[in-house]
């Protein structure tokens, strides 16, 4: 597990290093969408909640909703930004 973490840290640094300033905003926004992967945890926790645990279900519902906002909104807005860079 630790091995995994350290490897990911280096991959993250390697991937971002040397990126031109032009792309910093889309990159930040794209990275923002990727941490929306937390929604996988939200779905997982919902699947493991018993149907009569209303508090957890309500919290889980909002967790999935907010996670989706993060993911969908993040990718769509990044795409919009990058689409404009393509036009020449």
């Amino acid at each position: 597990m630790i091995y995994f973490v350290i490897l990911s840290i280096f991959v993250g640094i390697e991937v971002i290093g040397g990126v031109p300033t032009v792309l910093h905003t889309p990159l930040m926004s794209g990275a923002n969408a990727i941490h929306g992967v937390v929604i996988v945890g939200a779905i997982f926790v919902m699947l493991n909640t018993s149907p009569d645990d209303y508090i957890s279900l309500t919290l889980g519902f909002f967790a999935v909703l907010l996670g989706t906002l993060n993911v969908v909104g993040g990718f769509v807005v990044t795409d919009r930004m990058l689409e404009m860079f393509k036009k020449k």
Partner: protein
């Protein structure tokens, strides 16, 4: 069997994230890279839902799909409709949602471990819960909440709702005390699994997030957004630890480390140590030094500006956030085209932190179809200013302020700037003499070579274009 397929999907998704992020580092492949990451995300989400083992009641599936549906519609519409000038606000808002998601997961896990109404005689003992699980729950909750509360404050600040940096007296000490409480209450959770304790922790963490971002203002905001972005990444990674879920772990850590690196790059571009960004703010002790150096300000008319530009060989435009707010991107592109038709060489000089985020100005100009090759980065254009006839500064302040080089008492001292003062003529378009985003006066305005062209960027540039058409 399904378990193994899901593991494989998670590995593929992780690889897609890495490949996608790598491709986003190059303008040519960036868009494809973003779509590849999105594909990875879709696979991870679909796999989690459909490959889950065990009996699940249909109400839970309905709730999950309903939440995804609502989130998709709202997220999609907001992202499609937002103005490009509002990107930093939006990134901050979406980041806050991710943080909140991480915090909610921790809360639910806590409820699962310590049920509110435990069945007779089966109270969960704290000692029976593994330390690792508890550490992950606490970390996810605290980091996620700080990220959420901080992002919302950042959103409100960028939005203009919270305009002035709010500074409580001795706020650094107050924050330290709250942080100490956060640690204290977290430790208490190792002894008692009481609901009141975790909700106290939640409240404290939210309060800490608010107070952390509240005093920060001006040009430091993008650094804060980037920092909070990496916080949410780390919060997601703790979720990965909690469930031994590799896609959450890679996704979270990837963003955590990439975000940290971006934060450092940004701080370097502004020559601001990260500690100073968090524990000190722009514009609070700057007025004293700048006030002494004031001189005379010279006005220039639109007609004279047009004539000056028309008979120049080389004009460099320095766009700032003021241009974007006035929605003058398209007008400036028109100005560039007409000047080029008249045989003038036109370039744009882009400061690394022009706009509200690094690279934000490039996005705004790209929206107006300004050719990519016309944009010059700071280090390339600075040596060219002595040969430039006219520098046209539109809505930019701090990125051309010579105080960064000459005045050691200035808060922006040491920040690399666009050396506009070396050009033969400097024309500055501003609405008034008010100080810029960082709240400090600009010596360039009093330079004998400088003329001020007052007015709203859009109407001024449109008038310039009309004048030029008649020449």
């Amino acid at each position: 069997m399904q378990h193994h397929i899901l593991s494989a999907i998670y590995i593929i998704a992780s690889v897609l994230f890495i490949v996608g992020l790598k491709m986003m580092g190059n303008p040519k492949s960036a868009r494809k890279g973003n779509l590849i990451s999105a594909a990875g995300m879709t696979a991870a989400i679909a796999g989690t839902i459909f490959l889950h083992e065990g009996e699940i009641s249909s109400i839970i599936y309905i709730l999950i799909f309903l939440a995804i549906l609502i989130g998709t519609v709202i997220g999609w519409l907001t992202a499609k409709r937002v103005q490009m000038t509002k990107i930093p606000e939006l990134v901050s808002m979406f980041n806050g949602m991710g943080g909140a998601c991480a915090a909610l997961i921790s809360l639910i896990e806590f409820h699962h471990l310590f049920p509110l109404h435990p069945a007779e005689g089966i109270y969960t003992e704290v000692s029976s819960v593994s330390t690792g699980t508890l550490v992950c729950i606490i970390s996810g909750l605290v980091i996620g909440s700080v990220s959420f509360a901080g992002s919302i404050i950042a959103f409100l600040k960028l939005n203009g709702t919270l305009e002035k940096p709010v500074r409580l007296p001795r706020y650094n000490y107050i924050n330290l005390v709250i942080l100490a409480f956060v640690v204290g209450v977290s430790i208490q959770l190792f002894f008692t699994g009481h609901v009141a304790v975790i909700y106290t922790l939640l409240t404290l963490a939210l309060l800490y997030g608010v107070l952390l971002v509240l005093p920060i203002g001006g040009a430091d905001m993008p650094v804060v957004i980037s920092l909070l972005n990496s916080f949410t990444g780390v919060a997601a990674a703790f979720g990965g630890f909690l469930y031994d879920n590799h896609v959450m772990l890679t996704g979270g850590i990837l963003v955590g480390s990439a975000g940290t690196l971006l934060t450092i790059v940004m701080c370097k571009a502004m020559n601001r140590p990260i500690m100073q960004v968090i524990f000190g703010a722009f514009g609070t002790h700057a007025s004293a030094s700048a006030a002494t150096a004031k001189g005379n300000v010279k006005d220039i008319s639109v007609a004279d500006t047009a004539a000056l530009m028309n008979y120049s060989r080389k004009v460099t435009i320095i766009p700032g956030y003021g241009l974007a707010v006035a929605q003058a991107q398209h007008a400036i592109h028109e100005l560039q085209t007409i000047l080029e038709d008249h045989g003038v060489e036109v370039k744009y000089a882009i400061h690394p932190v022009a706009g509200r985020m690094p690279g934000h100005m490039n996005v705004l100009l790209a929206e107006a179809n300004v050719d990519y090759d016309k944009l010059s980065e700071m280090d390339d254009i600075n040596p060219e200013f002595p040969n430039t006839d006219v520098v046209f500064v539109v809505g930019a302040n701090d990125v051309v302020n010579p105080a960064a080089k000459t005045d050691p008492s200035s808060p922006i001292y040491g920040m690399p700037i666009l050396e506009a003062e070396n050009a033969r003529n400097i024309i500055i378009n501003k609405r008034s003499m008010n100080a810029g985003y960082a709240g400090i006066d600009n010596l360039l305005f009093y330079n004998p070579k400088t003329s001020m062209l007052f007015g709203d960027a859009k109407s001024v540039i449109t008038k310039l274009v009309t004048e030029l058409k008649q020449m």
